[in-house]
C-alpha cells in the first residue's frame, strides 16, 4: 500500500442532491485521504473510467434518486469487466434495508444511510482499504 488512500466520490444518475457527497468528500480529505469528486450526473461508465484513471482504492457512490438498484450493479459489473477487482465500493444515500442487503450481496462493501457519522465512514474505509 503506502501513501494516501485514494477515493473517488461519485454522483451517478440525474439527481442533484450533492450535500452528502460534498460533506463526505471533505471529511475524507480532512482525514488525510486523496479525494476526487466527480461532480454531478455521471454515468456508470464515466465513474469507472475515473476510478481507473485515478488509480482509486475506493469508490464512494452517493445516490438519492431511487435508481440505486439499476446504477450501482452496473458500476460493479463495469469494474469487473475492466478487471478492477480490488477497489472498495461503498454506497451512501436513501437506500432501504432490503436493497442494502442486495447491494452487499453484489459486492458493495458498505452501505451508509442518512445520519451515518462521517467518522464511521472514514474508519470503515481505512479498515476496508487496508484489508
Amino acid at each position: 500500500m503506502g501513501g494516501k488512500i485514494r477515493v473517488v466520490i461519485a454522483k451517478p444518475g440525474l439527481d442533484g442532491h450533492d450535500r452528502g457527497a460534498k460533506i463526505i468528500a471533505r471529511a475524507l480529505r480532512d482525514a488525510g485521504m486523496e479525494v476526487i469528486y466527480t461532480g454531478l450526473h455521471q454515468t456508470p461508465e464515466q465513474i469507472v473510467e475515473t476510478a481507473i484513471q485515478e488509480d482509486a482504492d475506493a469508490i464512494g457512490i452517493s445516490i438519492l434518486s431511487g435508481a440505486h438498484m439499476t446504477l450501482v450493479p452496473r458500476i460493479l459489473e463495469l469494474l469487473r469487466e475492466n478487471g478492477v477487482e480490488d477497489v472498495v465500493v461503498v454506497v451512501g444515500g436513501t437506500i432501504p434495508d432490503d436493497d442494502a442487503d442486495e447491494l452487499r450481496k453484489l459486492g458493495v462493501a458498505g452501505v451508509f444511510g442518512p445520519g451515518a457519522p462521517t467518522t464511521e465512514i472514514v474508519d470503515f474505509l481505512k479498515g476496508a482499504v487496508a484489508a
Binding site: 460534498k22 460533506i23 471529511a27 454531478l40 454515468t43 431511487g66 439499476t70 436513501t94 432501504p96 457519522p117
Partner: protein, 574 residues
C-alpha cells in the same frame, strides 16, 4: 468570502446559545430589542395586510381563508400519480402539487440512455402532452389549483399543461390525440376508467404555480439543461407570456427550499432567494414589462426548518424586504406587487431515518412555524421520507397534521399572534440585516449570475453544511434518535416500492406515441422551435405550445434547444 455573520457561526462557541443557523440568542429579550420606528409613520412592524407586511399579507390572515394544503406528490407513470391525486383530493386536500421524475426534470425522455433506472422513481414520468392528459384525468383544472415543480424545462411542461387543459383533462376522448386512433392503450384505459368527463378549460382560467426558478438550480438543486443566459431568456419568455395569457397563473416560484436543503443557513436561504427574486424582477423590467403587470403574480417558496422562532422571523423578514425593494427600488405602485406570497414545505433534511415516527413531531413543529409565519400554502413531509417516497398512510398523517393545526389549535383565530414579541421582532431585524449584507456581497461580485459563475453560493452553502455536520458529530447539536437517545436495533417501517416494471411501461407509451403521430407536424414544430431559439426577438412560448400540441416530446424539444444553446457544466466545489 466571509460576511459579518461568519464569526457567529464559528464552531468554537457552544451550539446551545445559537439558533440552528448560528444567530446568538440571549437569555431575555425586552422592549429595548424592538426595532426603531415602531408606532411611527414608517412602522417596520405595522399591521397585517399593510405595508411592509411584516405581520402578513392579509388583514384577517387565516380567519378569512386558511392556507392551501398542498401535498407534493408524484411517482411511477401518470396513471399511478393520477390515482394519488384523486386520493388526496378525496381526503380534503385543497390544491395539487406535482413531483416529476428526474428524466422529466432534466429534459430527457423516458427511453433516453441517461434515464435508465430513474423513470418514475422520484416523481411522475411525463414525456408528452398525452401523459399530462392522463395525469389530470377526471380533475377539474378550472377549480383545483395545480403546482408543478420543474425548472429547466418548465416552459415545456407548462405548454403540456395548457394544451392538456384546453383539450379537456381527459383529452384523449375528444378524438384529437393519436390515442384516438388506437395508438396508445394506457391512455385509453385511463380515459375510460378515470375520467369524470371534465371539459376543456381555457388557459386564462387556470390557476396554480410553476416553479421555473432556474437561478436556484445553478445555486443549489442542480437540475439544469442549458447555460444560464439562454435559460434566463426562456424563463423571461415564460413570465412574459403568462403575464399576457394566464392572468390567474403564478409563472415562477422563487425558491429557497432547495438552497436550505442543500445545507444553507436560514440567512443564506433568505438572502439568496430574495436576491434571485430581485434578479428576475430586474430582467422583466429590462424586457420592458411594467413591474405592476407581473409582480403580483410572482410567488416564493421557503423551507420550514426545526428552529421554530428563527423560521418565523425569516418569513417576516422576507416579506418586509420584498415590500421595501419592490416599492422603493422598482417603484411598484400596486400594493399587490409589494406583497410576498409564499409556499412552505417542512424540511426534508430534518427528517431522520432513525426512529422515523419522531419525524411526525418535527414536521408538526415546522408546519406550525410556517403557519405562524403567515404562509399561503403548505406541504408537510411524511415521516418515512428519509427512507423512500412516502406511503399513502404516511401522507395521510402528514395532511392530518395540517388539519389539526388548522381546526383544533386555535392558532388561526387571530392574525399574526406572535407580532410584537420582543424576541421575534429582534430576530426578524437581525435576519433582515444579514440578508442585506449578503446582497452587498453579491452585488460586489457582479450580481447573481456572476456569483454563480464564481461558485460563490455553492461554496457558502458547502461551508454551512459541513459546519452543521461537525456540530452534530461533536454532539454540540442534539438530533434525537441519531446522536442522542439512539436505539440499537430498529425495524424499518413498511416503505413504498415503485414497481420497476413501470419504467418499461412508460418507455412503451412514449415509443407507441412516437409511432402514431404526424411526423411532418413534429418536424415542422421542431424546426420552428430551433429557429425561434436562435433569435432574440421572439417569444419561445408559442412555438413550444404548438410543438406540445403536435405531440413533440419533452426530450425532443430540449434536445432541439440544446443543439442551439449548448449545455451547462459546473466546476464542483466541496
Amino acid at each position: 468570502m466571509a460576511i459579518d455573520a461568519t464569526p457567529r457561526l464559528d464552531a468554537d462557541r457552544k451550539a446551545g446559545d445559537r439558533t440552528l443557523s448560528g444567530e446568538p440568542v440571549r437569555e431575555l429579550y425586552t422592549e429595548a430589542d424592538l426595532p426603531a420606528g415602531v408606532g411611527g409613520p414608517e412602522d417596520p412592524i405595522g399591521r397585517p395586510g399593510e405595508y411592509p407586511f411584516t405581520r402578513g399579507i392579509h388583514a384577517s390572515m387565516y380567519r378569512g381563508r386558511l392556507w392551501t394544503m398542498r401535498q407534493f406528490a408524484g411517482f411511477g407513470t401518470s396513471e399511478e400519480t393520477n390515482e394519488r391525486f384523486h386520493y388526496l383530493l378525496d381526503h380534503g386536500q385543497t390544491g395539487l402539487s406535482t413531483a416529476f421524475d428526474m428524466p422529466s426534470l432534466m429534459g430527457h425522455d423516458s427511453d433516453h440512455a441517461r434515464a435508465l433506472g430513474e423513470v418514475g422513481r422520484e416523481g411522475v414520468a411525463i414525456d408528452t402532452l398525452e401523459d399530462m392528459q392522463t395525469l389530470f384525468a377526471g380533475i377539474d383544472l378550472g377549480e383545483v389549483s395545480v403546482s408543478m415543480t420543474i425548472n429547466a424545462p418548465a416552459a415545456i411542461m407548462l405548454a403540456f399543461y395548457v394544451a392538456a387543459a384546453e383539450s379537456g383533462s381527459d383529452g384523449v376522448a375528444d378524438g384529437n390525440g393519436p390515442a384516438a386512433a388506437g395508438g396508445v392503450e394506457g391512455a385509453l384505459d385511463t380515459a375510460e376508467t378515470g375520467s369524470t368527463g371534465v371539459g376543456p378549460i381555457p388557459r386564462e382560467r387556470l390557476s396554480g404555480t410553476i416553479q421555473a426558478d432556474i437561478l436556484k438550480e445553478y445555486i443549489a438543486q442542480k437540475e439544469w439543461c442549458f447555460p444560464i443566459d439562454p435559460a434566463m431568456r426562456l424563463c423571461g419568455d415564460m413570465i412574459e407570456w403568462c403575464t399576457r395569457e394566464m392572468p390567474r397563473w403564478h409563472p415562477i416560484s422563487i425558491s429557497g427550499y432547495h438552497i436550505r436543503e442543500a445545507g444553507s443557513t436560514a440567512q443564506q436561504e433568505l438572502a439568496f432567494t430574495l436576491k434571485d427574486g430581485l434578479t428576475y424582477v430586474e430582467q422583466a423590467v429590462a424586457r420592458g414589462l411594467d413591474v405592476d403587470d407581473f409582480a403580483p403574480r410572482l410567488s416564493f417558496f421557503f423551507n420550514a426548518q426545526i428552529d421554530f422562532f428563527e423560521e418565523i422571523a425569516k418569513y417576516r423578514a422576507a416579506r418586509r424586504i420584498w415590500a421595501r425593494e419592490l416599492r422603493e427600488t422598482f417603484g411598484a405602485r400596486n400594493p399587490r406587487s409589494w406583497q410576498m406570497r409564499f409556499h412552505t414545505q417542512t424540511a426534508g433534511v430534518s427528517l431522520t431515518a432513525q426512529q422515523p415516527l419522531n419525524n411526525i413531531v418535527r414536521t408538526t413543529i415546522e408546519a406550525l412555524a410556517g403557519v405562524l409565519g403567515g404562509t399561503q400554502s403548505l406541504h408537510t413531509n411524511s415521516y418515512d421520507e428519509a427512507l423512500a417516497l412516502p406511503t399513502e398512510e404516511a401522507v395521510q398523517i402528514a395532511l392530518r397534521t395540517q388539519q389539526v393545526i388548522a381546526h383544533e389549535t386555535g392558532v388561526v383565530d387571530t392574525a399574526d399572534p406572535l407580532g410584537g414579541s420582543y424576541f421575534i421582532e429582534a430576530l426578524t431585524n437581525e435576519l433582515e440585516a444579514q440578508a442585506y449584507a449578503y446582497f452587498a456581497q453579491i452585488d460586489a461580485l457582479g450580481g447573481v449570475v456572476a456569483a454563480i459563475e464564481q461558485n460563490f453560493f455553492q461554496r457558502e452553502i458547502a461551508e454551512a453544511s459541513f459546519r452543521y455536520q461537525g456540530e452534530v458529530e461533536r454532539g454540540e447539536r442534539v438530533v434525537v434518535g441519531v446522536n442522542r437517545y439512539a436505539l440499537d436495533d430498529e425495524a424499518e417501517p413498511t416503505l413504498l416500492k415503485v414497481d420497476p416494471a413501470l419504467e418499461g411501461e412508460q418507455i412503451a407509451r412514449v415509443t407507441a406515441l412516437r409511432a402514431g403521430r404526424d411526423t411532418a407536424a413534429v418536424d415542422a414544430a421542431l424546426a420552428r422551435l430551433r429557429d425561434d431559439a436562435g433569435r432574440d426577438d421572439v417569444n419561445l412560448m408559442p412555438a413550444i405550445v404548438d410543438a406540445a400540441r403536435a405531440y413533440v416530446t419533452m426530450g425532443e424539444m430540449c434536445d432541439a434547444l440544446r443543439d442551439v444553446w449548448g449545455v451547462w457544466r459546473e466546476t464542483p466545489v466541496f
